[in-house]
């Protein structure tokens, strides 16, 4: 392989897949709106920076707790601190759902209406309880830098 190709390959590996990114962007736009190529590239780069930002902050939170592995609660705290608290509820919901589905498949792919001893209602209640816990942890946590939060309610997905 040509050295230039190798470098190009490495750069791509360190970025996000263009096709997936483009698809997600398009889903958010009205049907007749397009994105210029250079704007699209910049958006993708900004998302990579976002990953760096959240990872870095999560790592800080993790270190402060003297833990070695970045865990979900570190990420949630990082989102809060960096001004992206409005994402917390949505990503946490996805995470809880993901956990339930993972538990399901671990059980040898047996599809049950209820997971373990929990019915869907109980699972939802459990989720709400964990939300409250996470919120309490965050609110009771150490210094929270000033951040503007113009939208009181998450409204990212309509």
């Amino acid at each position: 392989m040509d050295p230039a190709d190798i470098v190009e390959r490495i750069k791509e590996d360190a970025s996000l897949p263009k096709a997936s990114m483009t698809k997600i962007i398009k889903e958010m736009l009205p049907p007749d709106v397009r994105v210029a190529r250079d704007a699209q590239d910049l958006i993708i780069d900004c998302c990579v920076e976002f990953i760096n930002l959240i990872s870095s902050e999560s790592n800080e939170v993790c270190s402060r707790e003297e833990r070695k592995t970045i865990a979900p609660e570190h990420v949630l705290k990082a989102l809060q601190v960096l001004g992206f608290g409005e994402y917390i509820e949505e990503v946490y919901t996805a995470y809880e759902q993901h956990k339930l589905e993972t538990m399901d498949s671990v059980r040898g792919g047996v599809r049950l209406n209820s997971v373990a001893e929990m019915t869907e209602e109980q699972a939802l209640a459990e989720q709400q309880r964990m939300f409250a816990e996470a919120r309490a942890r965050m609110n009771g946590g150490t210094s929270v830098p000033t951040q503007t939060d113009p939208e009181p309610e998450p409204s990212l997905n309509s």
Binding site: D13, A14, L156
Partner: protein, 133 residues
């Protein structure tokens, strides 16, 4: 991002239960930072979902700017305006610059380590935002 089981009245909005972005790729990007040791796979999942939300947010806001101006194609200018409208996003995209005089020192901004491979992306962002100040 799929809606499942909408028969019961479809109150569910689209939630990223299954992120469209590859978690493994995001984990790889994270690991490029030498200060980051281990990442729990669930944490990587959360970051993947967050990144997807962020992307949607950027796209949505840019589209709003474009529509306000009665245009059809999102250009760099529209994206720039959209970013400036959201303080936290504005802060971090400017803050990733090495020597921006407008940078307000953050109390916790991580190690600030720059990865060689990601530097080209940062430089582009730097050039982009320096143009408008």
């Amino acid at each position: 991002m799929t809606t499942e089981h909408d028969e019961d009245g479809g109150a569910t909005t689209e939630e990223p239960h299954h992120p469209s972005l590859p978690i493994s790729r995001i984990k790889r990007i994270m690991k490029l930072d030498k200060d980051i040791n281990k990442v729990n796979s669930e944490a990587a999942f959360l970051i993947t979902c967050s990144t997807e939300l962020f992307l949607q947010f950027l796209a949505e806001r840019s589209a709003q700017v474009v529509l306000e101006r009665k245009k059809k194609t999102i250009k760099l200018d529209h994206f720039r305006v959209a970013v400036k409208q959201h303080q936290p996003t504005n802060d971090f995209l400017l803050d990733c610059l090495p020597n921006n005089s407008e940078v307000v020192p953050k109390e916790s901004r991580g190690s600030g380590s720059k990865k060689d491979v990601g530097a080209s992306g940062s430089k582009k962002i730097e050039a982009f935002f320096n143009k408008c100040s």
